[in-house]
């Protein structure tokens, strides 16, 4: 069963890694991804990022994505933690961990999880700029293309 959490609080990479894989003798490889708030986008200085979500649906959607990854790659476990609320540059937004007997599955599942999270889970980002303005981040075609890669069966 995947560990799925949607929370305002920061997460600890080391603790989550240990909870998933620490000392487990059946796991050969763990893939991971952490997304962080950057201080600039498209040349504008960002002072904060607010993540809105759809409580209830979010956990459902993320759990469904994690279950899909576990089934596709026969994972030995995975963890998805996504933060919500107002975050500052340098703060972590999202953590994905995927554990498998071998590295190919662990790394592929990690890419799948973050690509699908970005296109199928109900989160929305709003950026605040140094000049006091703010704007909702627009969905990127590159994210849709990345997610579409996984429509095919895994290699």
């Amino acid at each position: 069963m995947a560990v799925v959490r949607v929370q305002a609080e920061p997460f600890e990479m080391g603790a989550e890694f240990a909870a998933l894989a620490g000392g487990r003798t059946d796991i050969g490889g763990v893939g991971a991804f952490v997304g962080q708030v950057r201080d600039a986008a498209d040349g504008r200085r960002i002072v904060a990022m607010t993540l809105e979500h759809y409580p209830g649906m979010t956990e459902r959607a993320v759990s469904a994505i994690a279950a899909e990854a576990e089934a596709r790659w026969s994972l030995l476990g995975c963890t998805v933690i996504h933060r919500v609320g107002r975050l500052l540059p340098g703060e972590p937004i999202v953590l994905v961990l995927a554990a498998a007997p071998h590295r190919a599955a662990a790394l592929a599942a990690t890419g799948f999880l973050i690509d699908w999270l970005k296109t199928r889970a109900p989160f929305w980002k709003k950026e605040e700029y140094a000049d006091g303005a703010s704007a909702w981040v627009e969905a990127r075609e590159a994210d849709d293309a990345a997610a579409a890669r996984w429509q095919q069966l895994p290699a």
Binding site: P122, K126, W136, E138
Partner: protein, 87 residues
């Protein structure tokens, strides 16, 4: 006649444009699908025009993504929102 009540939710820039995060709606008898509900709401004009079929706004019925033909009925939770941008 019993009122057929829906719970509507709006998120992100759509929430800001329609000026509310949620509302209750008495569903007219002839509205039975997402497409029908979109037309009903878009007809309000203003920020609601973004709900018209063919725009970028997505819909979920009872927390599952829904297409134009997805049926809706009394007690459903129907959410409208822009394309997601998390991760």
């Amino acid at each position: 006649m019993t009122e057929r009540m829906l719970r509507l939710l709006y998120f992100a820039w759509l929430r800001e444009r329609v000026g509310r995060g949620e509302e209750s709606l008495a569903l007219p008898a002839e509205v039975t699908t997402v497409a029908g509900l979109r037309a009903l709401l878009a007809a309000r004009g203003g920020g609601f025009a973004a709900l018209a079929e063919g725009g970028s706004v997505r819909c979920a019925v009872n927390q599952d993504l829904a297409g134009p033909a997805t049926p809706i009925g009394p007690g459903d939770e129907v959410a409208f929102f822009p394309p997601v941008t998390g991760g």
